[in-house]
Amino acid sequence: MEDKKMTFQEAQAKYQVIIDEIKSDSTPEELLDVQEKLTSLLDELPNEEEFDPLAEAISDASDKISGTITIAVVDDIHSRNEAFKKATEMLNEISSEAEGDASVLGLKKPKYILSSLNKSVEQVKGIISDAKGENYTDAAKKAETLIVLLKDMKSKIKSS
């Protein structure tokens, strides 16, 4: 049996039924459903000049529904902003503590102190040896290096 061709009046009635589904409290999902139904109706319309104004109306309605959906979605997303602010703050605190923990676990500080101590002791030994050999210029240079080492160690310990 051949499919009966849709008349303009039938198409217009179908369009009206779909548009009537839009309520003031329709959710974005319900509105999207209306939009999909309009697209399906457009697919069904015979491609004849007579139906062009209805095709135009369908396209126009779809664009306006899309605007209503977009505004509702943006408002909905906006309403959850506080949750993100709270979570970000909480996570930043936890991360900063965890990063500190990781640094302690790497034993960077004791390794640094010990290494500086080693260098300092070597300098002290050098100073004693130079002093015994009455090489006071080298002893003084080594003493200066030792002071720099100790100052550097002090500031590193303070900052860590």
Partner: protein, 339 residues
């Protein structure tokens, strides 16, 4: 055996017995404390991928939205993109908070990895400290030999200390963050459900417009195509009819005139349909991935609570799947098409 060597052996035996006892105690402390540090890298990788998809998801809507006049039903008018009240501007500012939250989660997951790495490198770190101590002792007379003998025990002790501390540090961080992770997962999921609707809606409006626009070119194309076929049949019957030949040339020209627009609109419709389907797939997969990701973190927290090893293999697989979706979807191209 001389009396001296007898006492020397006895003293050495006593010293090794002491080392043995201390080692055993440390070993048991380590076991009791549940020191198996889980490899949290799959979680960190999944977080990085998820962070990228949160950015992509926002851009998929922000970019086309920012350039489109939006109908406001309450005002019964279109808001232009330059208008400060345009929803694209609000969404852009709101999405910045989502990006910041995801950045904070990426930093958090990387800090867990850093704790895990510090624990994994404990042998090297402990040896580093002991070597420095040995070096220092060798510079001071009469201390060197004692430190050398105790070196292995100190390395073992430090290793155990790092392992126990790493476990407890990671457990504390994971437990503290779980509430925030659950919160982010819940709200991001809600956001993505809405983004999915808005994205589908914008594409549906574009599709509807293209389907409306194609009607006249399609009608003309089909009409000229039919005329061309009829003329061809008539010419076959009257090969010498010049009028028919002239009409055929005219029809061919008309067909050639409408064909590019018709083909272009056909391609546009096919591309929008594909884009709509890709977007739906992307948002659905991201929602699935968010669920898996939050669940993995909850499992991690639970595992620390019960001193068990969490299973992060499934999460690693999901993260990989999501990464492939993001790469395959070529979101930049999608955004360009939606404009």
């Amino acid at each position: 055996m001389s009396l001296y060597s007898f006492f020397n052996r006895k003293a050495r035996l006593k010293k090794f017995t002491k080392i043995g006892i201390v080692s055993t105690i440390l070993f048991f402390v380590a076991v009791i404390s549940g020191c198996a540090i889980p490899d949290v890298r799959p979680f960190a990788d999944a977080t990085t991928t998820l962070s990228a998809s949160v950015r992509a998801g926002g851009d998929m809507l922000i970019t086309p939205l920012s350039e489109k006049p939006i109908w406001v039903e309450k005002k019964k008018k279109y808001i232009q993109p330059k208008d400060p009240e345009h929803p694209g501007k609000t969404l852009e500012a709101d999405w910045k908070l989502r990006r910041e939250a995801m950045d904070a989660i990426v930093i958090y997951s990387n800090s867990l990895v850093a704790i895990g790495e510090a624990s994994a490198n404990r042998q090297e770190s402990a040896e580093g400290v002991v070597n420095e101590v040995k070096k220092l002792a060798s510079l001071i007379p009469n201390i060197g030999t004692t430190i050398n003998a105790a070196g292995d025990l100190v390395v073992f002790g430090l290793k155990t200390y790092i392992e126990i501390k790493a476990y407890h540090d990671m457990a504390r961080a994971v437990k503290s963050a779980d509430q925030a992770i659950k919160l982010v997962a819940k709200v991001i999921k809600e956001d993505f459900k809405k983004l999915k609707t808005a994205h589908a809606s914008i594409l549906t409006a574009k599709l509807t417009k293209s389907k409306k626009d194609i009607r006249i070119p399609q009608r003309n194309y089909e009409q000229y195509k039919k005329e061309q076929k009829d003329l061809r049949n008539k010419i076959l019957e009257n090969l010498d009819d010049q009028k028919l030949r002239d009409k055929m040339i005219e029809t061919d020209a008309l067909l050639a005139g409408v064909e590019p627009e018709y083909t272009s609109l056909q391609n546009q419709i096919a591309s929008l349909e594909q884009e709509k389907s890709n977007g739906k797939n992307f948002f659905n997969k991201t929602i699935e991935a968010i669920n898996a990701w939050a669940e993995a973190h909850a499992k991690l927290s639970e595992a620390f609570e019960k001193n068990q090893s969490p299973n992060l293999v499934l999460l690693a697989a999901r993260a990989q799947e999501l990464k492939i979706i993001i790469e395959e979807a070529k979101f930049k191209e999608i955004i360009e098409k939606v404009k």
